[in-house]
């Protein structure tokens, strides 16, 4: 089966290439050079940042080696620094955030793009986008003073009735914990994912839906079998964008994650994340702790890079599968 032409094929197609190969006017050359410079500067900036982090982190890297990644104490007094609880916390809260945000965003996006009455569409979209505009410190305060107290009795109840599951084991301290961190992150990721998924759904040709409906499919069947598969790469890309936000978020998460520092499967334990640890400790740190915190930043950098690369591969893979499977 022939691979359908995409817009990218058309714009990057042979016609365009041959146009580029034409002897360029000085203006074109200048333009090309400028954009190339801009592109390279971004790469340069990234490399310079990584190199500088590495340079400042070196005393800590040399001192702790792999133990920095596997150690689970952070002791400024004895100058022993291990990042594992923070790495674990970042991954756990981000995963929790995705677990909540992706399904909810999908629902919101489907509603906005497919099911919402016309008069509601614009105000509802606007509200979702407003959510992205809330400063993270405000969201954090809301989490601390509104969300945590609401979660607290629920968590206590869960701990007392389902406490035999390691995930829900007590004691519960006032609703600031990994779970609260994950939930705040999900709220922050939600508007980004929703907006991108909605746009992806809106690009699905109307003929797809009409064909399904003409075959006698229900609304649900049309959406789940014709619309969503078509928008799949957009949905994956949206989730990656949201995940990127969750991995690096600092302020809001710091305020509700509880700032404990241990490795535990308990969702109700006060935890930490890499970004939060850096933000809370850096100002008053001295000596080796500064190097260790910068190494933590380097690890965060690496984790963000891996997450992004994995996301890109996933998008490519879903696109390839969609194309190979034939719509």
């Amino acid at each position: 089966m022939a691979r359908p032409q995409t817009i990218e094929d058309q714009t990057h197609g042979r016609a365009w290439r041959s146009l580029l190969r034409r002897p360029a006017s000085p203006g074109d050359r200048l333009f090309q050079g400028t954009t190339l410079l801009a592109a390279l500067s971004l790469l340069g900036l990234l490399l310079a940042m990584a190199a500088y982090l590495f340079y400042v982190a070196w005393p800590s890297i040399a001192r702790f080696g792999v133990r920095f990644l596997t150690g689970s104490t952070w002791d400024p007094v004895k100058e022993v620094f291990g990042a594992l609880p923070a790495i674990y916390g970042t991954l756990l809260t981000s995963a929790l955030a995705m677990l909540v945000a992706v399904p909810v965003s999908l629902g919101v996006a489907i509603f906005l793009a497919e099911l919402s009455p016309r008069w509601l569409r614009a105000p509802a979209s606007f509200l979702v986008e407003m959510l992205a505009a809330i400063p993270s410190v405000v969201l954090g305060l809301w989490g601390l003073f509104v969300m945590a107290p609401v979660l607290y009795p629920l968590e206590k109840w869960l701990a007392s009735s389902l406490g035999f599951v390691p995930l829900f084991r007590g004691p519960v301290f006032g609703g600031v914990n990994f779970l609260a961190g994950g939930l705040i992150l999900s709220i922050m990721a939600l508007p980004i994912i929703t907006a991108v998924v909605r746009d992806a759904i809106l690009t699905v040709p109307a003929a797809q839906r009409e064909a399904m409906l003409a075959l006698g499919a229900t609304r649900w069947e049309a959406i789940s079998q014709a619309v969503l598969p078509y928008a799949r790469s957009g949905i994956v890309a949206a989730s990656i964008l949201g995940l990127g936000r969750a991995v690096g978020e600092t302020m809001a998460v710091t305020m509700v994650v509880g700032n404990g520092y241990r490795l535990t499967a308990r969702l109700f334990a006060p935890g930490n994340t890499m970004a939060s640890k850096i933000a809370t400790q850096f100002n008053e740190a001295s000596g080796l702790e500064i190097n260790a915190l910068v190494e933590l930043a380097l690890v965060l950098f690496a984790v963000a890079l891996v997450v992004n690369l994995a996301g890109r591969l996933l998008v490519r893979w879903t696109v390839a599968r969609a194309a190979g499977g034939g719509q």
Binding site: I7, A38, A39, T73, M255, N259, G260, T280
Partner: protein
């Protein structure tokens, strides 16, 4: 796709432009420079940076002092660590800190500008606060041993016999104690862990004394407000905050046994008492926690201004010592209204001697 790439490049250009732009604004000009650079009689501008804890008092002082002198002081409350860094780098005329500089920090500063002074300015203390409905402020009594064991997580419940026997009149719940600490590095933590290290050998060995430590227990809150917020919200919580903060927000606090086994509540008087009638070294690099004064609240301490003994700009140096002298005497009265404990006479005498020792070109700067 094309559009997205375009936007990314534009962003990159914007970042580069921002990075290349003028960066002179906002950074204070280096303080100490050679010779007399300010003409006498003109307005002298001093730059200082450091501790956030004394900021309300300092800003009151500098406002009042600008009325009675021709000295204007610009103080940035960036935290004790930042204050130490800036005075060491010579970007300010004085630093401010709630903690004593480490040996390493002092060596670095001395290489830059010679001996550095810790001049005490005012006193503060740390209240141990709790959330037990029905037990009013000051009614709950704790010994240093019990407090250390709670923070070491050796005492986990409120009705533990070690707490109950100190409080025979109170009905204590069978509830987990949620121990709250500062998540950010802080002078308040420094004083608190200094106290615990003095009263508990186990604390000293396992945890130690610093602006941030490896906490055995529970929840961290950002700033005094973060700790207070957590304590308010978690039934059965215990935390530590600056006394001024606890007082202004009416958070109940513990009456703590001091070195002579009297249960003392934090107050301005019991805080000042911590530095009165006790041995104070001439350099005043001393933590007066667990004071031997029977009237003293045990978790109290100084906050210091940091400055070099040898001033390089004589006019600025003169303005600086005059300002210090004023703060140590006339300035002390402003403390009480803002919940800062005034320096007791013993501490003022030591501080006076320090201010007298400041020189410019080997001439003492203070003219009195």
């Amino acid at each position: 796709m094309l559009r997205a790439r375009g936007v990314a490049s534009l962003l990159a250009v914007g970042l580069l432009l921002a990075a290349c732009g003028p960066t002179t604004q906002g950074t204070p000009t280096p303080g100490p420079s050679a010779g007399d650079t300010t003409p006498p009689g003109a307005t002298v501008r001093l730059n200082g940076a450091g501790a956030t804890f004394p900021y309300p008092l300092y800003s009151k002082w500098f406002d009042e002092y600008a009325e009675v002198s021709n000295t204007q002081v610009n103080y940035q409350s960036i935290g004790s660590g930042g204050g130490i860094r800036q005075i060491t780098e010579g970007t300010v005329d004085f630093g401010a800190s709630d903690g004593i500089m480490t040996a390493q920090q002092q060596v670095a500063a001395e290489q830059r500008g010679g001996p550095i002074l810790h001049i005490p300015m005012t006193m503060g203390s740390v209240a141990v606060v709790y959330n037990l409905p029905g037990i009013p402020s000051g009614q709950l009594k704790l010994t240093p041993e019990a407090l250390a064991d709670i923070y070491l997580k050796r005492i986990a419940k409120w009705n533990d016999p070690r707490i109950a026997q100190l409080n025979p009149g109170l009905s204590l719940p069978n509830q987990d104690i949620a121990v709250v600490h500062r998540s950010d590095g802080s002078g308040t933590t420094f004083i608190f862990t200094n106290y615990l290290s003095k009263v508990s050998q186990e604390w000293k060995e396992k945890v130690g004394n610093a602006t941030a430590v490896n906490w055995p227990g529970d929840v961290g809150g950002q700033g005094n407000e973060g700790v207070a917020g957590q304590v308010r919200q978690i039934p059965g919580a215990m935390g530590y905050v600056e006394v001024a903060y606890a007082k202004q927000n009416r958070i109940p606090w513990v009456a703590l046994a001091n070195a002579s086994r009297d249960f003392i509540e934090p107050s301005l008087e019991s805080t000042s008492a911590a530095a009165q009638g006790v041995d104070l070294p001439d350099d005043m690099k001393v933590m007066v926690t667990n004071s031997s004064n029977p009237q003293a609240y045990p978790i109290a301490g100084f906050t210091w201004l940091l400055m070099f003994v040898q001033q390089t700009d004589c006019n600025k140096g003169r303005a600086l010592v005059d300002m210090m002298w004023w703060a140590l005497h006339d300035g002390q009265q402003y403390g009480t209204a803002l919940d800062y404990a005034p320096l007791p006479p013993d501490a003022v005498r030591k501080a006076e001697a320090q201010v007298r020792s400041i020189t410019c070109g080997s001439q003492p700067l203070l003219e009195r």
